[in-house]
């Protein structure tokens, strides 16, 4: 085999289109990172995973309320994103695309779960933060106030929780939330107001 080709097969230089010298990934823009990942740079996609992992996990935990399920969904979302990476336009923001994959997986999970916890059909009843068990997630919440906050969010009925999580964790606009959940914009207003009221009531000693 030709020496040039041999060099191309080596781990040090995984792809001919990627710079030979190791670049500081922190200094690169998201678009550059995605282009590198599309060209086969393993480090670049690893860096992208680390950039978005925490935010995505928090979001999905908020939706599915189970840490274990959320963990699986997040992993699967990254894998699907990687498999479809070549079709992604690098000039677009990456996270919304990734979050959309994860959201779809999460909603499929909820619908498959047999709990009939479809997000816009669940009743308001059953809001009891004391009964919520955070499980392994408890270790990720350094102080008691955070634990109480997450427990209260997890205990929200699904239709309020979805709106709250999309707004607070994902920072989606009201219009986008309405469009995504297929509910009128006015309903987003009232559900978010109701969700915040419940949380404020429960956490009033901390506010």
């Amino acid at each position: 085999m030709l020496p040039g080709l041999l060099a191309e097969f080596s781990e040090e230089n995984p792809a001919s289109s990627v710079p030979k010298a190791k670049v500081a990934l922190e200094k690169l823009s998201e678009q550059q990172l995605i282009e590198m990942a599309q060209a086969g740079d393993k480090r670049a996609f690893g860096f992208i995973i680390r950039q978005h992992h925490k935010r995505l996990l928090r979001f999905i935990v908020g939706l599915v309320r189970s840490f274990d399920s959320a963990e699986d969904i997040v992993q699967e979302a990254f894998i699907r994103a990687y498999q479809a990476l070549e079709r992604f336009q690098p000039n677009q923001p990456f996270y919304p695309w990734l979050a959309a994959i994860a959201r779809n997986l999460a909603f499929n999970h909820l619908q498959r779960g047999g709990k009939s916890e479809s997000l816009d059909k669940l009743t308001e009843s059953g809001y009891d933060p004391q009964s919520v068990q955070l499980g392994p997630m408890e270790q990720m919440l350094a102080d008691e106030n955070r634990r109480r906050y997450f427990k209260a969010v997890m205990a929200l009925p699904a239709k309020y929780r979805a709106v709250f999580v999309l707004r607070h964790f994902e920072e989606m606009s009201y219009v986008d939330i309405a469009s995504y959940l297929k509910i009128p914009p006015g309903t987003v207003d009232s559900r978010l107001y109701r969700a915040r009221q419940m949380l404020m009531e429960n956490l009033k000693d901390l506010l």
């Binding site: 781990e11 086969g40 690893g46 498999q83 978010l192 949380l199």
Partner: protein
């Protein structure tokens, strides 16, 4: 608009998400309603609290989890599945000695059943039976003598042991036979041992290829210890170089899906039914949902061993790649045939138990297979085998469910460019 309408809009107002007309209406309402102003203050305070307490902390967890994702994607090195030269023969010497001794005794009995029977019937033991020496001739021996000796079948070992100490003549005879058996065993003896004495566990086969092997029936090790290893090829496997990991890179256009049936061929010869077909047929049995782990386990056990790929090729590492491919392919086929979640987990659990690896999943198997196919397609001295491996790679790259389709496409391009270089 009543107070409830205004209250519902307070959250949106705090988030600056109201259209202009509604925003003006809410501001007018707030100017004249103290209760709504108090609620708005609470909402703003709550937003600040939520922003300050909405983060997760455990960076160690996220690092571990990110690494797990990278492993699943094959972005970082992971433990090899096919550890061919794994030291697993602790205490082998004793096992070999025990097996050899058992075979020697059973072979002797199998070969000399008639003589033993005659000896027992006509030897002085008949006379001695009238006045047995206390503590020497046992009841078992007497029972044995009274029965006609079976022909063509080995005598029970405990009876033989009883005979062994009955008479001086018999002792002499046994010594002669024992010395005879300590030498190399001829083919007849082997046949008798394998036919009459039963099977010997394949784990007992010694690793070193001595010229004087005990009469052990060659039981094929189907995917044993991750690789189907012919005992004669163990040395090759043990001396194999470290396997090369080929990086994936470059983007590629999506390839249209087309089913290609690959048929395995040995160097120059076309096999009648390729192992891929056999394994595929066997794996189809897994399409039923709800099979438990043990059933899956037994199915994996019963998968046919891929045909022997023939003599060792000029490059030793080819054997290693072939062995790895043959060990992984059935697992891959089993895993991909059953798409039900429970079935998939059962299969993975069974495969994990079978291969005794800590981390084991379908993407990992696919990744390993890609390496095998690529290296065979690149290095095999047999053109037919090269084409077959390339066809397998192409077929995999077109699978919709393939985890590493892009990598496969990259490698196909690498092979093409290599071929072009060679032609030049």
């Amino acid at each position: 608009m009543d107070d409830a309408w205004y209250r519902d809009r307070l959250s949106a107002y705090a988030d600056n998400q109201l259209p202009l007309d509604e925003r003006q209406a809410v501001e007018e309402h707030l100017a004249r309603n103290a209760e709504s102003r108090a609620i708005l203050e609470q909402i703003v305070r709550f937003k600040q609290f939520a922003d300050a307490h909405g983060d997760l902390d455990d960076t160690e967890y996220f690092e571990e989890s990110a690494r797990a994702i990278e492993q699943r994607l094959g972005l970082i090195d992971q433990p090899k599945i096919a550890h061919i030269a794994r030291p697993r023969y602790a205490g082998l010497g004793w096992k070999i000695a025990a097996v050899a001794a058992s075979i020697a005794v059973l072979t002797f009995i199998g070969l000399h059943t008639d003589q033993i029977g005659q000896m027992l019937r006509s030897s002085p033991t008949d006379q001695m039976s009238e006045t047995p020496r206390p503590g020497r001739a046992t009841d078992q021996a007497r029972q044995f003598r009274e029965q006609p000796a079976p022909t063509g079948q080995p005598a029970p070992a405990e009876s033989a042991a009883a005979i062994d100490i009955t008479t001086d003549e018999a002792q002499k005879h046994n010594k002669v036979e024992a010395s005879r058996l300590s030498g190399p065993i001829d083919e007849d003896s082997r046949a008798a041992a394998s036919g009459g004495a039963g099977e010997v566990p394949p784990q007992s086969v010694p690793e070193s290829a001595d010229s004087e092997k005990p009469a052990v029936q060659k039981v094929p090790e189907i995917y044993s210890d991750r690789v189907a290893v012919d005992p004669d090829r163990r040395k090759v496997a043990a001396a194999a170089p470290k396997l090369e990991r080929v990086p994936e890179h470059t983007d590629s256009a999506p390839v249209k899906r087309a089913e290609k049936k690959t048929e395995r061929t040995s160097a120059g010869e076309q096999s009648q039914t390729g192992p891929l077909d056999q394994l595929s047929q066997a794996a189809q049995a897994l399409t039923k949902r709800g099979q438990d782990v043990s059933a899956t386990h037994s199915l994996i056990e019963s998968l046919p061993k891929p045909a022997d790929s023939g003599p060792v090729e000029s490059e030793q590492s080819m054997d290693v790649w072939r062995a790895r491919r043959d060990s992984l392919l059935p697992i891959y086929l089993v895993m991909t045939r059953d798409t039900s979640v429970s079935g998939r987990h059962a299969v993975e659990a069974a495969a994990k138990a079978r291969l005794n690896t800590g981390e084991y999943s379908l993407p990992e198997v696919e990744r390993e297979l890609l390496d095998c196919w690529y290296n065979i397609a690149r290095r095999s001295p047999a053109p037919a085998e090269r084409d077959e491996a390339r066809a397998a790679l192409a077929s995999y790259s077109q699978r919709q469910a393939a985890h590493h389709a892009r990598i496969a496409q990259d490698r196909l391009r690498m092979l093409d460019s290599l071929r072009t270089e060679e032609q030049k």
